[in-house]
């Protein structure tokens, strides 16, 4: 079945595109997908280890925020972080649309949605930079600072890597590295970007809502 003039769902297009036509690529893609999912699982466990440390330190502290030099440290500003979170989750939505448009062979729309994702991702990072400057605690000063900066810093590092990754994907896509039927790199990038969102849900809850 060649590309039909009638609109079909992305899933059907995928099946048409390679599973039956190019079994070699189908197998390669499956292998890469399993490997990439395992990578994301191990990354989850990395965050979980630091989250365990944060929960342990927080539940064993006599007060929270902890006392430093006679003063209790300030709580975080939930409203700013909530706005920043919306920026990040928004970028997850835009990435979803970017990939969908790629599958539907709409390169221009793909580019627009990808750029929106990258811009929102950078926006999130800038928001975090602002948050770091106003939060009123230091990395080395308390266990609150230790856990907050280490966890959000690790997450921010992942976002930064993600922004670079998406930029490279965008350049590659426009150079023709990916086609309508072979675009595993874009799938991986999307999965990674969603993973970064999921981690942020956990961190936002743990630091700003709890």
């Amino acid at each position: 079945m060649a590309a039909a003039a009638v609109h079909v769902s992305g899933h059907d297009l995928v099946a048409v595109r390679y599973r039956d036509v190019d079994p070699v690529y189908a197998e390669t893609r499956s292998i890469r997908l399993v490997g990439f999912m395992l990578f994301l699982i191990s990354d989850c466990i990395l965050f979980s280890a630091f989250i365990f440390a944060y929960i342990y330190l927080r539940t064993s502290a006599p007060t929270w925020p902890p006392m430093v030099d006679g003063h209790q440290l300030p709580w975080f500003d939930t409203s700013f972080a909530a706005m920043n979170s919306i920026v990040l989750f928004g970028s997850g939505v835009t990435m979803h649309f970017a990939l969908e448009n790629w599958k539907h062979l709409n390169k221009q729309k793909f580019n627009r949605w990808l750029i929106a994702t990258i811009v929102l991702g950078i926006g999130f990072l800038l928001g975090q930079a602002h948050e770091y400057s106003v939060v009123g605690i230091t990395w080395a000063g308390s266990t609150m600072g230790a856990s907050f900066f280490t966890l959000t810093g690790l997450h921010g590092f992942h976002v930064f890597i993600g922004v670079c990754y998406l930029t490279i994907l965008g350049i590659q896509a426009n150079r023709g590295v990916y086609t309508g039927s072979k675009y595993f790199g874009l799938t991986a990038g999307t999965l990674y970007w969603h993973f970064v969102d999921v981690i942020w849900v956990a961190l936002f809850f743990l630091f700003y809502l709890w």
Binding site: P23, E27, I31, I41, S42
Partner: protein
């Protein structure tokens, strides 16, 4: 009889694509993507570091020949045992059993041309020498002093050396995680047509279970040493009680990895033992399914028992209970394996090759070490034994008497496949007896010395020698026997190198074994299999023909060479 048809797609285009051969010295031997070459690289790196770390252990043993400390200062001693443990765990054991054995053997046993991500595999190897440089360079600043565990706050006194230690461990952790991911994907996705999960060789099951632990647990170690590094360099107070941190937190994070780590050491050895015992008894492994599933059970349970390393260390009392119960529980699947292997010996036709000797020795020493582990699972007994040489004895019985023995069985077993030549059986036999006797002599007295009151990590033991006058004798006894072990490893290194030129030509299947690697040339071509074979049964039925179709070589279903060599008196080999 066996079904003549396979259940999945046959002669698939995907598998039969052979890449062009690598060219040039660098591509072939330095930055190789070939899992066999990478396996060699891990093997030689691990063996070299084993010689260095083993020498540190000998210095430790020499120091203990005198209760006042025979040859060095306390500081130097502390550095020696810390470097010995650190290097052995991360730069010797894990690279050898996962990187060397797993890499070389597993893809061959599943009928694949390579692992899922060859480039990642290459990077995973090259990280190990980098980590080794970081670790050994820490000795320029005095090295780590607080053992391979480097607990804060005392490890923070190690300064730059401590930070370098953290960096080295973090680095090698990346290699382990990537290897685990790589091997899991390979086993899940790249088995030959017809090789269902329950037709896989037991070494592949072992590699898979190990890869799962490697992938999931090592990142927790990265977090632990990463946080310790941050405290060293940036004073971030995760583990500083003066600023709300907790040293016990480090222990939790560290041991969450380090307990699965000890199963990472042993489960590949279990896999080797299964292969070796079956082959050299000429009968199927007893209880295949139980052995396969118990490996997975151990892998999963290993994540639930870490705090048994922390019973007297600041754990909330009510927490001790579940960890005690789960630690007992993990003894059951292990026991099942031991009994199954012993049952495999029953009614067999047993050939005493070097590999088989190590396997038999393993059954004795690993069982003993496992039983002392059961002693330690009980909180009340552990409250007495923790921190003493009883612990040192326990883990050396299971690690040296288990993991290392399994590795020493694997080397003569697969060396012929890797190089095309047999290792010297005579040197192998001598090496086995040196190792077995040396191991027991070195570590058996530590059991009672520890329970009598001799702590571990003690540079001097004058107080103990006063209370127990025969303490010095036993320590000297242990030191003497330790040199037997050292001689054995030295002999192994010699045998490996000597046999490359002078070993007997091995042929395709010297042992008459039945897994897929024994259907291709020795050494295998870079593409492993000309045609990917089809599998239609488990590889352990020695009274049946090999359960494959479409193999490269038409091998007789019965041993051509090994049995003849083993059965005939010396000098009459084919």
């Amino acid at each position: 009889m066996h079904a003549a048809t396979s259940t999945t797609h046959e002669a698939h285009d995907v598998h039969d694509h052979i890449h062009p051969a690598p060219e040039g010295f660098v591509r072939k031997y330095v930055f190789s993507l070939d899992h066999k070459v990478i396996g060699f690289q891990y093997f030689f790196t691990g063996l070299l570091i084993m010689l260095i770390a083993g020498s540190f252990a000998e210095l430790v043993r020499l120091q203990l020949t005198d209760p006042k400390g025979a040859i060095m200062s306390n500081t130097a001693y502390n550095e020696m045992f810390s470097m010995h443990g650190t290097a052995m765990v991360w730069l010797v054991l894990i690279p050898l059993v996962t990187g060397a054995l797993g890499n070389f053997v597993m893809p061959l046993q599943i009928g694949a041309r390579d692992v899922a991500f060859p480039w990642l595999n290459m990077v995973s190897f090259w990280i190990v020498p980098i980590a080794a440089i970081l670790l050994f360079s820490s000795m320029l600043w005095g090295g780590p002093h607080a053992g391979w565990t480097e607990y804060p706050p005392v490890s923070l006194l190690d300064g730059t050396a401590g930070a370098l230690w953290c960096a080295a461990i973090f680095t090698v952790g990346i290699s382990s995680t990537m290897t685990g991911l790589n091997f899991m994907t390979t086993v899940i996705m790249m088995r030959a047509p017809g090789m269902t999960w329950t037709r896989m060789p037991l070494f592949v099951w072992a590699t898979f279970a190990t890869a799962l632990m490697n992938m999931m647990a090592t990142v927790a170690l990265s977090a632990a040493v990463g946080a310790l590094f941050l405290q060293h360099v940036f004073k971030v107070p995760f583990f500083d009680p003066a600023r709300g941190g907790s040293p016990v937190l480090y222990e939790h994070m560290f041991w969450f990895y380090s307990h699965p780590a000890v199963y990472i050491f042993i489960i590949p050895a279990f896999g080797v033992i299964s292969e070796v015992i079956s082959t050299f008894s000429r009968k199927p492994i007893f209880g295949y399914k139980m052995i396969a599933f118990s490996s997975m059970a151990i892998a999963i349970l290993s994540f639930t028992v870490w705090a048994h390393h922390m019973f007297p260390s600041g754990l909330a009392p009510w927490l001790q209970l579940p960890f005690m119960i789960l630690t007992y529980a993990i003894g059951i699947p292990t026991g099942i394996k031991i009994f199954s292997w012993v049952a495999t010996l029953w009614g067999g036709r047993i050939y005493f090759s070097t590999a088989m000797l190590y396997a038999l020795g393993f059954l004795i020493t690993f069982t003993f070490g496992g039983i002392t582990g059961i002693f330690l699972a009980s909180v009340p007994v552990d409250l007495h034994a923790h921190g003493t040489t009883f612990i040192v004895a326990h883990f050396h019985y299971v690690v040296a008497g288990g993991s290392v023995m399994g590795f020493l069985a694997a080397v003569p077993y697969w060396y012929p496949k890797a190089t095309g030549r047999l290792m010297s059986e005579r040197l192998g036999h001598i090496g086995f007896w040196l190792f077995f006797i040396g191991l027991n002599g070195t570590f058996m007295p530590m059991h009672w010395l520890g329970l009598e009151g001799m702590p571990r990590r003690y540079a001097t033991y004058e107080y103990f020698a006063k209370a127990f006058p025969d303490a010095q004798f036993w320590n000297q006894f242990e030191t003497g026997f330790s040199f037997l072990m050292a001689a054995s490893i030295g002999l192994l290194a010699f045998n490996v190198i000597w046999s490359i030129k002078h070993g007997k030509i091995a042929g395709i299947n010297p042992w008459g074994a039945r897994t897929l690697e024994w259907t291709i040339d020795s050494p295998p071509p870079y593409y492993n299999f000309k045609k990917i074979p089809n599998v239609f049964d488990r590889p352990y039925d020695f009274d049946q023909p090999m359960p494959y179709r479409n193999t490269d070589n038409v091998v007789a279903p019965y041993p051509e060479y090994g049995a003849v060599v083993m059965a005939q008196p010396a000098g009459a080999g084919a």
